[in-house]
């Protein structure tokens, strides 16, 4: 039995649409395998040691809140990016995902700086891209589908050749509604527009994070399969709904 530490960045500011469901999910799935999980909230100006973290999670926020977060996070950007390069598991949703890029250009032309970890930009535009979404992706060498809900005004364009998308859109909008890509994946970082409870009904994605965390600790033997019939039912129910709508 081990203790895993997950940092929840700016829970007060970046917590739209039930994002906390992802942390509840990780904590439970670790507990069911006999591990403890400590979730450390990190607010504006509070210290964080990325080297001692097993994972980092950041959710979406409104525009104003995103601005505050940028000001704070830019001061720790270097340490954060080094950790990502070293394979730190990170999940960034919606606004947090947009922050990873160069900038966000609002519909009125106003430019908000991003952390610049990757060479991509997001353009705000109407209408908002809203609805259930179905992706196909590969995780831990396995093909899998991912279901979720997206609601974003921003269109993200991945121009960096190092970047691969998190998944291909089967139905829905994804990064920009045009090129069929959704989110981004880089080492153990996933950025995505699938907000809210992404992990609970996509247990494969949840376990991708858990195996990544365990592997970094040299605990690979501990990823026992769980009995996911309820999770899989929910996954299939949404998938069916999306495919038949």
């Amino acid at each position: 039995m081990a203790q895993f530490n997950i940092a929840h960045l700016y829970p007060d500011l970046m917590n739209l649409y039930g994002d906390r469901g992802n942390l509840i999910c990780l904590k439970k799935r670790l507990a069911w395998r006999g591990h403890e999980c400590r979730i450390q909230s990190v607010g504006l100006g509070q210290a964080i040691d990325f080297d001692n973290m097993d994972m980092v999670f950041m959710g979406g926020g409104s525009d104003r809140e995103q601005g505050l977060v940028y000001e704070d996070l830019i001061t720790r950007a270097e340490a954060f990016f080094d950790a990502i390069e070293a394979g730190l598991p990170v999940l960034c949703i919606c606004g947090a995902y947009q922050l990873l890029g160069e900038s966000y250009i609002a519909a009125d032309g106003q430019k908000l700086q991003g952390l610049g970890f990757f060479d991509f930009i997001t353009r705000g535009s109407e209408p908002r891209l809203i609805g259930n979404i179905l992706l196909e992706t590969q995780l831990n060498g396995r093909n899998t589908t991912v279901v979720g809900f997206e609601n974003h005004g921003g269109r993200t364009y991945l121009d960096d050749p190092r970047l691969e998308a998190f998944g291909r859109v089967v139905k829905g909008y994804g990064n920009n509604g045009q090129d069929g890509s959704e989110g981004l994946k880089y080492h153990n970082l996933i950025g995505t527009y699938l907000h809210g409870p992404l992990l609970p009904k996509n247990p494969v994605v949840a376990d991708f994070y858990i195996s990544a965390m365990a592997e970094r600790r040299g605990l690979t033997a501990t990823i026992t399969p769980l009995y996911d019939s309820i999770e899989n039912f929910a996954h299939q129910q949404v998938k069916y709904k999306i495919l038949t709508s």
Partner: protein, 461 residues
């Protein structure tokens, strides 16, 4: 003129037919009428002689407007009032047509229009309202409008330049920017200290940041959610002085309180309903209704469909509750847990437009309380179009997987629930499954060997 009459006749026929088939959705009638005569709402609303009152906000719209309707009726006024769920332009048009005569010449004293936040601006383009009452702002159905800030902005834009009085909740910091941004006259209602206040709030709280300057707000106390006594340390923004203040709140049996020293009693329950009462008292006092009329009307007023409505099925009692957002869900769960008996619980989650297409909000509700020792959940049946998501939420809240059942069909689900070993049934449902659940419960109630009359919640039998 002929066009108007045609539109009215067509819509009245649709209303009749849809009632015959037991359909609650009368939105279609308004849609057809508006197509036949796009000016119909403006014309009919022009027949309102005293005032058009609009009620908006996240929670409590229906209850508050029903309370106001009850008071205005008791005061002898003729009113037109749209019903819950029919609160966009088509539904409101249906309400006027249902209340008018064939030539559209009937007049009313007041129109009481409950409407969605995003519908305030379009509605004000067609009706000259004198009053807009806002109940509160919580996170609700975000997928329809994006973020809460945006929703608030929509209302402010909608009222700007109109001749309106705003009635605002003095305890909601999210309303702070209304006077400055709209330039309109504002009246306020709010609570004094109550024995139910807390100094800290762990629930999903909105509006942590000042609407005027962006600084984090300091709270002296919370009434519930983000409603409380607040102050911005940077710009000094704080609760406005309420025109109507509620004191001496007691929630033990029903609700008792004083509003500007007038004692008010109601068979409703819960702090959120105390806010609805306060808003109704404030607004109707503002219209000049006498205290005695208000007191009597509210004391007699019973909760209605899905607002804790009670049924008896066989030997057991079942309570139907509407849930539509995290705050309401939490309140319902709290009410349920105050019941010490063992419970068969049913949770129906739909994702139609009126429920909100995005079901993520169930993760902002604290279902964890269902797993607490003493919660007494014997069976938890998850149902509706998104039964799977509900079941996953319950599982991750810590409810024993062995207690969770998935039965997407509402009728089969309710039967399974009420066949459980618990002493009492609780049927929680999102909006578009509510009427069906109610029909199923009524049907089960009138089956042989069971009492025929529905027992309404809190009615003394």
């Amino acid at each position: 003129m002929l066009r108007t009459i045609l539109a009215i006749i067509a819509a009245k026929i649709i209303i009749k037919l849809s009632r015959r088939f037991g359909n609650q959705g009368t939105v279609m009638a308004g849609r057809v009428a508006r197509r036949l005569d796009p000016g119909i709402l403006r014309k009919l609303a022009g027949r309102v002689e005293k005032q058009i009152i609009i009620i908006t906000g996240t929670n409590g719209k229906t209850t508050t407007s029903n309370m106001i309707a009850q008071i205005l009726n008791a005061d002898g006024h003729k009113i037109v009032h749209n019903r819950a769920g029919a609160n966009m332009l088509n539904g409101i048009t249906t309400a006027f047509i249902g209340a008018t005569n064939l030539t559209g010449s009937r007049s009313w004293d007041y129109a009481l229009l409950e409407t969605d936040e995003a519908n305030v601006a379009p509605l004000l383009k067609e009706v000259d309202a004198g009053v807009l009452l806002v109940t509160n702002f919580f996170r609700d159905q975000l997928d329809r409008y994006g973020e809460l800030d945006y929703t608030i902005g929509l209302i402010k834009e909608g009222v700007k330049g109109r001749r309106l009085r705003l009635w605002l909740n003095a305890d909601d910091p999210l309303m702070s920017s209304f006077p400055q941004d709209t330039g309109l006259p504002c009246s306020y209602y709010g609570f004094d200290e109550t024995p139910y206040d807390t100094l800290e709030n762990h629930n999903s709280r909105e509006g942590r940041y000042c609407m005027l300057c962006g600084e984090e707000i300091e709270y002296l106390r919370f009434h519930f959610a983000q409603l409380g006594v607040f102050r911005c340390p940077k710009c000094g923004n704080q609760n406005p002085e309420p025109d109507f203040v509620a004191t001496d709140l007691q929630l033990d049996q029903g609700i008792a309180m004083k509003v500007n020293e007038i004692p008010i009693k109601s068979p409703y329950q819960g702090f959120y309903n105390a806010y609805n009462l306060l808003a109704a008292v404030a607004l109707t006092r503002g219209l000049g209704v006498r205290d005695a009329v208000i007191q009597e009307a509210l004391a007699r007023f019973q909760p209605q469909a899905g607002r804790m409505e009670r049924f008896s099925v066989g030997e057991r009692e079942a309570t139907l509750i509407l849930v539509k957002n995290p705050t309401g869900f939490n309140q319902s769960l709290q009410a349920l847990l105050q019941d010490g008996r063992s419970k068969n619980l049913f949770l129906a989650l739909n994702d139609n437009a009126a429920d909100g297409r995005d079901i993520s909000w169930i993760w902002d509700a604290d279902l964890e309380v269902l797993a607490e020792p003493g919660a007494g959940i014997t069976i938890l049946v998850c149902s509706g179009l998104r039964s799977g998501d509900m079941a996953v939420r319950a599982k991750y809240a810590g409810v024993d997987s062995g207690v969770i059942e998935i039965e997407s069909d509402l009728e089969a689900g309710i039967k399974k629930t009420l066949g459980g070993t618990g002493q009492v049934g609780y049927i929680l449902s999102t909006y578009t499954a509510l009427f069906q659940c109610r029909k199923i419960l009524l049907g089960m109630q009138s089956e042989p060997s069971v009492k025929a009359e529905p027992r309404r919640a809190y009615q003394k039998s």
